[in-house]
Structure formats: C-alpha cells, structure tokens
C-alpha cells in the first residue's frame, strides 16, 4: 500500500511538472511529428526484432508503445 501511494504521488507530481513545463505549441511540432522522432515509428519492424531478442534472453517487457507525444496519432 505504501508503494502504491508513493507511485501515485510520484506520478501526480510528474504530471504536474509536465503540465507546468509544456511549452511546445502545435505550430512547433514539425520535428516532433517527424517519423524519426517517433518511438516505434515502424512498430511491425520493432515488434519482430523484439520477438527474436526476447526468445534469446531471460527478460521481458518495457517495450515501447506507439506515439511520440507529437499529436500526430
């Protein structure tokens, strides 16, 4: 329960900081919207590579989700 409380507080604090720091306006997103700046811009390619690597390692997870915070989804 203590861990969950700490995680929730950290998450809330991080979001608060994030909202206060937001300075990227829509007209400034040209670089962020570029596919080279997207996490997993080629999801099928990344998933296939991850599939191979996870079969040769004892670990799992932490994989990227699509998106780049660029508003281009």
């Amino acid at each position: 329960m203590r861990l969950a409380t700490h995680l929730a507080l950290t998450f809330a604090l991080a979001l608060g900081v994030a909202s206060g720091c937001v300075t990227v306006r829509p007209e400034q997103r040209s670089f962020l919207a570029d596919p080279t700046m997207r996490f997993d811009s080629e999801p099928a390619d990344e998933a296939a590579l991850q599939h191979v690597l996870e079969n040769r390692e004892g670990s799992f997870g932490g994989g990227s989700v699509e998106g780049g915070g660029c508003g281009c989804n």
Binding site: V52, G62, V65, G71
Partner: protein
C-alpha cells in the same frame, strides 16, 4: 391492458444494437486500407550441428471505414528448423552428453482487433490465436490511450491475457519431478492419446506508458511492464542430468513467475545534423531472481525526401536464475543443485549480449490524385540487418562452450495504403 415486457436478455442485447444502429449511418469519410507485409529471418550458425533458423513471414491488413474506427486482421508464421541438445549436461556429468536432435516446427498465429478513436482518446481490443503441434494459445488484449496538455503528454495503458497450453508426457501429478521423463515427440499432442496431457499456462500482462514532449526537439517515454505467469514453464523436450550416475529428469521450473520491467527512452533532434538520436535504458527483475539491464543507442537521418537510414547498437546483461546451475551433480556450489528446481535453459544462465545493426527505409507519397504502382496512396519499404553476439558466462554442454552464440537477423518490410 397488459403490455408484454421483453425478457431481460433481449433488453440487454437491444441496447448495444440500438446504439450501433444510431452510430452506423455516420458517413464513412476515411475509407482507407493499409497492408503490411513482413518477413524476418533469424539464423544462428554452428559448426557443431546446433544451428537454428527461424523464418517469420507476416501479413496484416487494416481497414478504416470511418474516422473513428480501424479494423485489423493479421496472420504470421514461425517456421523453425535446426537442431538442439535434448539433454543438458554439465562438466561433471557422466556420461558426457552432447547429442543433437533435429527441430522442425511450424507455428501459425492469426488474430484481429479494432481501434476506436475519438478526439484525443483511443481504445483498442484484439484477439490472437496461436497453434503449433505442441502448443496452443489464445490471447486477448485491450489498450487505451489519451493525449492531453495540448497533446504534449500521452498516457497509454494496456492489458493482455493469455490462455496457453503446452503438450507434455501424461505422468500422474503425484510422480516425483526427479522421475519425470521428457517428451520425445509431439505425436499424439492435443488428441485423446492417453500418453499425452495438455498443461495450462496463464499469462497476465500489464503495461503503462507516459510519453512527454518537453521541447520542440526533445521527447521522452517512460514505460513499465508487469507480467504474471502461472503454469508449466519448462521445455517439455529437455532433460537435465541431475544425478552423478547420469540420472536424467525433465527440466523442472517453478510454476509461478512475476516479472517487471521499467524503461526510459529519450529522443533528441539535432537540427545541424538533421538527425534524431535515441537513447534508452531498461531495468528488469523477476521472482526467479533474474536481474537484467539493457542500453540502446540509435540515430536516424533523412538522407533525401524519400530515404531514411537508421543505425542502432544495443547492450544487454542479466544475472542467472536463483536455481540455475551449469551442473546439478556436484555436491555444492559452484556445481551442484540450488534448491528444488533444475534447468537446461541457457536464457536462465548469466549472460551478456551485444547487438549492432541498422535499417534503410524508403517512403513514397503519391501526388494528389495519383497512386504508386497504380494502387497505393503511399507506400514504404525497408530492409534491416542486425547482428547479435551472446556471451554465456557459465553455460556449457558437458563442459564445452556452445558455438551457436552469434545470430543474424534480417528483416524485409513493405507497407502500403490504398
């Protein structure tokens, strides 16, 4: 006057049907379809006969009948051929066993799903069925995501549930694990054969991700993953030498495993170089006491209006599982049993790996009203090459280091919208 009241099940069914009828007449504005063809080749050469080759062709088709709906179907296969050691022995084991058994397998995976999109929010659901001679899987997944703070912040949550089954020898539950023998063939699996049984594996995956744009050229992503697995987690074909006189028993792993990983990724665009640099780090831990860490660096650049090139490098290291030993026949550590389980799985041994590779991708956007190759509004094709070298710290096959530790991964990908 008596009014007939429809039964409760009919009312329950009628509500979503009515809602669907109300939504259905919405004009189909998008009407775009996307096809993806991919083939991945994994090859691990060996001069000792334990080479492995996996070919993974895949096809997916997504249809967007409306602005708010995407429906996807996909199929892929894993075509496995090669050889592996059916018995894991250590340097102290007698007799010295390094024999190979040929491995041939074909796995089919088919699935489908949909995504609903409304303004800044997405909701997806999907189902996947996997089938091979000795393994079956049903996977259900749901995910949702939203953008806020002027779309500078993105939160994604995902949950997946797997109902898998693996074939094994039909031994009674009461049989001591030291007396269980490994499976020698998949013949009779998932039939009424009295010599086979199907063992359940339940898998729960949770993932949360926070993506944040901090400046016009800098963005980060924080991802955490939790996985819970319950069921048979060994390789039913693998035996392990567990006695000084050469007694062999089927690999025996714990039935429960909780795994967690956290990763941070950074992307920074250097305008002067017209290149996006990515840096990521991942930490991993599970209840089998494996600790892992991964670091990756990549750079991607537009070489022209249609061509971009990516190079990447990755380092990985992990500790061994708590019960891992290279030889279970010794009296005490370093060689000897560690608890009540035994394994011949080198992925549970302490190891490091290094990967280097890259990708070349071409993207073609048709002029307004024109189509590429006579049918695609836009299309892209890519080819990737990655080389992985694994350094096994204390894994041997009867005292000899395996030589199938170098792997080549080739990928070909085509994507088109029409």
């Amino acid at each position: 006057m008596v009014r007939s009241v429809p039964p409760r099940w009919a009312r329950v069914l009628a509500q979503p049907l009515l809602a669907g009828l109300v939504l259905w007449p919405a004009p189909a504005r998008a009407q775009v379809a996307e096809v993806n063809l991919r083939n991945t080749l994994f090859h691990e050469p060996s001069s000792k006969g334990s080479q492995m080759t996996v070919i993974n062709p895949a096809l997916s088709l997504s249809v967007m009948p409306s602005d708010w709906l995407t429906v996807t179907g996909r199929y892929e296969a894993d075509i496995v051929s090669g050889a592996s050691e059916p018995v894991k022995a250590g340097p102290l084991s007698t007799p010295d066993i390094i024999s190979q058994a040929s491995v041939k397998d074909l796995r089919h995976i088919a699935g489908g799903g949909f995504t609903l999109t409304r303004r800044n929010t997405r909701l997806s659901a999907g189902y996947t069925y996997g089938r091979e001679e000795d393994y079956r899987s049903h996977g259900f997944s749901v995910s949702t995501g939203t953008d806020f703070f002027q779309r500078n912040t993105q939160i994604d949550l995902a949950y997946a549930r797997g109902f898998d089954q693996v074939c094994n020898v039909a031994y009674p539950e009461s049989r001591d694990p030291t007396l269980r023998q490994s499976l020698d063939t998949s013949d009779g699996c998932f039939t009424s054969s009295a010599a086979r049984q199907a063992l359940d594996i339940d898998i729960n995956n949770f993932q949360a991700s926070w993506t944040q744009a901090w400046t016009p050229v800098f963005t980060t992503q924080l991802t955490t993953t939790f996985q819970l697995i319950n069921g048979f987690q060994g390789n039913p074909y693998r035996g392990v030498v567990i006695g000084p006189t050469g007694q062999i028993a089927q690999e025996h792993h714990p039935e429960n495993r909780a795994r967690t990983a956290a990763a941070i990724r950074l992307k920074y665009y250097v305008r002067e170089l017209r290149t996006a640099f990515g840096l990521s780090g991942r930490g991993y831990r599970d209840t089998w006491d494996i600790l892992g860490q991964t670091y990756q660096l990549d750079a991607e650049r537009h070489m022209s209006s249609w061509l971009r090139v990516l190079i990447r490098g990755r380092l990985y290291s992990q500790t061994g599982a708590l019960f891992w030993s290279d030889d279970y026949t010794g009296g005490e550590p370093f060689y000897g049993p560690r608890g009540q389980y035994w394994s011949g799985d080198r992925e549970l041994s302490p190891l490091k790996s290094a990967m280097i590779g890259g990708r070349v991708l071409g993207h073609w956007q048709g002029a307004k009203g024109a189509r590429n190759l006579g049918m695609f509004l836009s299309s892209s094709a890519s080819a990737s090459v990655d080389l992985v070298n694994t350094f096994l710290e204390d894994f041997t096959l009867a005292g000899e280091k395996p030589d199938d530790t170098f792997a080549l991964i080739l990928g070909l990908n085509f994507n088109g919208t029409f």
